[in-house]
Symmetry: C2
Subunit: 278 residues, 2 copies
């Protein structure tokens, strides 16, 4: 018997992965949650039939959504992660010795439970004493916490369903308020090949709120087209002006991120540059 | 009715594209040739059911397989293209005013005919008076031409079927012989996520023949995993030591390639660096 998982990456583009076994399938109050053992990528988490992460390529996304920002801020102590219930972002954050507190706000308890059970490689950071897991709405959390965080990471699903609000101007304003005086945030912001209008809109909005707005990118093979962007909004520190600490970065033991990648992830191709506000 | 084209990118990974119309389907002496009008990527060329190129993302591959090498050599005059019958590489090469001659050796007449009829945007360079199209085996051609070319581009299909010989040590030795005293060559060399052993083997082999061997990369959304590599073997000029001419590059009107991309395409992530010989 052949079992395949198929995701509609766009209305007109699909990815298919051969499945050894369906390890978990459930319906939470927010979404369908599934864990598949795929041949090509190992264990894979899907939400509403969209690939979120997998054992083979998760390192790219989780290293880039965390370390670029953490190494742009000179001394991040308190970090908020919104979404990302698989734990991959938290695992990378707690590698930084200077971090005193990580608040992880995930709306869906089922995602956390599934991560603990099926993705120990990703959720290992949950056991770090500096980590506090809060099952709540991230939008509400940032509204209720002002001037608290040195860095906020928006590790959201695609801008449909529960995550729509995480791409809104109102949310970015709350994020600004929730940050300390020299805080910064990083959000995943989709593909320039398939979501170019979103990149333009988000970067225009963030530029209207934050003094420094920067787009950077990496390649996540299981996301549509591979080329994936992140947007940083920063109150003070500019990643292009920061001298990164080579030794500190190399000590992180990363597979995608490196001192050189930190710098060159901000080099955009002409067709991507054109998406940004002037 | 829904019509989908599906490619097995690996034994365990598939890509599917919604098809408006099958524009051409034929069997040449070498392979199955098809042209599909896809909704997401526009017209698409497939050979033996593997995506070769398409209107939406072809610029990435064709710009990177040509301009990086052409701007590493200080004065390329005579260039050989092996494969790439769609014409995309030739179109980029003839943008360089200093080029005196482009010999385009494609084994399959049907691919050339299909490119002329269905991909005028790609095959436009075929009309340039400096271009000579030779329908022949590229392996034979490099054996028969010694010390002739300033640059050779190996725009091959995947290393299965007719293209296997284009990834062999014997072929790379013939390429070395076919180049002038300071010539260089660039070949497409697949994905570090799915073909890591090939990248190691090819780079080890080329390092044994050429004084300078360099891996560089770009993102082609329709190739497995997106992250795609190219390998340069050079007799003298090192792309990392060359000061590129910013104005000359910007005049090319490229969408992926740029002066900054020329430099940063050689920045490899730790997991890719590990694939290379020490």
């Amino acid at each position: 018997m052949e079992v395949w998982f198929t995701e509609d990456q766009t209305k007109h583009l699909r990815i298919g992965c051969r499945v050894r076994e369906v390890l978990f399938s459930g319906q939470s109050p927010f979404q369908k949650v599934a864990v598949l053992d795929t041949v090509e990528f190992g264990r894979m988490l899907t939400l509403d039939n969209v690939i979120q992460t997998n054992i083979k390529d998760e390192f790219v996304y989780h290293e880039m959504i965390t370390h670029v920002g953490l190494n742009t801020h000179p001394d991040p102590k308190k970090v908020l992660v919104i979404g990302g219930g698989d734990g991959g972002a938290v695992r990378e954050i707690v590698k930084h010795k200077g971090i005193e507190k990580v608040v992880h706000v995930e709306i869906d308890q089922m995602v956390i439970d599934v991560a603990k059970k099926f993705f120990p490689e990703l959720s290992s950071g949950f056991n770090d004493p500096r980590v506090e897991i809060v099952v709540d709405d991230g939008i509400k959390h940032v509204k209720e916490n002002k001037g608290v965080y040195d860095m906020i990471i928006v590790d959201s699903t695609d801008p449909v369903g529960p995550a729509v609000g995480l791409f809104s101007e109102e949310f970015y304003r709350s994020v600004f308020e929730a940050l300390t005086g020299d805080g910064l945030f990083v959000a995943q912001t989709e593909s320039p090949f398939f979501n170019s209008e979103l990149i333009t809109r988000v970067n225009t909005t963030i530029s209207g709120i934050f003094p420094v707005t920067r787009l950077f990118w990496a390649v996540v093979p299981t996301y549509p087209g591979g080329y994936w962007t992140f947007t940083m909004g920063s109150k003070k520190h500019d990643p292009l002006a920061v001298d990164v600490d080579k030794d500190k970065i190399e000590a992180l033991g990363t597979k995608w991120y490196s001192p050189e990648v930190h710098r060159t992830a901000f080099v955009l191709q002409p067709f991507v540059k054109e998406l940004l506000p002037r």
